[in-house]
Amino acid sequence: MATLDILSVSVIYAASFAILLVGYLAAMSSKDVIRLLISLEMMFGAVFMALIPLFSIAHLANAAFGIAIITIFASSGELLILISAIVILDRQKRDIHTSAITIGGDRV
């Protein structure tokens, strides 16, 4: 890959932070679980972006690829579980709003 200078790394980290922030805001303002799912995917997108500078370090390049694979598979697995949970929630409660979830989680 092309050599990353400090400016490129700053751009990547700043964009990653901005996407993460938007993901947080979307999660906080979500009233239904679909929007929560979308915001979680945004947060994972920010994580993928934050991984990029790892590839520019010589002795970490191989490990970075392993970390990227694990992150992509683990996040995909988590989101699949959440999608299944949404379908089950809709089947049981006939409602996908976060207010319908009464067990677990925290009240903000």
Binding site: M28, S29, G45, P53, S84
Partner: protein
């Protein structure tokens, strides 16, 4: 020659900034849009632009993984779900959340600072391609990937079991 290198570096930085900026703009679209369907579409485009940064830096395997698995599989299911459940949620943001935001900003700025401080050795283009080519035949990683896939299958099976149990 040095001048040409400098120009290509600045062009790379410009393209990188444009890609990152467009990704951030589309992510703002997720927040602004009140319709779940359009939010999910904006989210997919954001992730494609994040993957495009990988493609720009010549890391095509990761680009393919993100676009095919994350956007192609999970993103499309999300779009389909969002198209099914379209609703217009109201805003509710507590000021208390400024604390985790500040902590995250601090951690990220520290990583930028430490990157500048330690100035890690950069990789030549041929070296990283060679290392990526040699990555997949390593048995340990293959075992790890198979383990991850079986873990996902097991988790899905358990969710299915909960779903069937809940229905009956």
């Amino acid at each position: 020659m040095g001048s040409r290198n400098h120009h290509s570096m600045s062009a790379d930085l410009l393209v990188l900034s444009i890609l990152a900026g467009v990704a951030v703009l589309f992510s703002l679209g997720v927040l602004v849009s009140k319709d779940n369907f359009y939010s999910s579409l904006f989210m997919s485009v954001t992730l494609i632009f994040v993957a495009a940064v990988y493609a720009l830096l010549n890391l095509q395997p990761v680009f393919v993984l993100i676009v095919f698995i994350f956007v192609g599989a999970i993103g499309i299911v999300t779009v389909a779900l969002a198209a099914t459940y379209r609703s217009e949620p109201e805003r509710q943001v507590s000021r208390f959340w400024i604390v985790p935001v500040v902590i995250t900003a601090f951690i990220i700025s520290f990583s930028i600072y430490s990157y500048a401080l330690f100035n890690p050795q950069s990789v030549s283009p041929t070296e990283i391609e060679f290392e990526l080519m040699n990555f997949l035949p390593i048995t340990e990683y293959l075992v790890l990937i198979i383990f991850l896939i079986s873990l996902v299958v097991l988790l899905l099976l358990s969710v299915l079991k909960i779903g069937i149990g809940g229905r009956s």
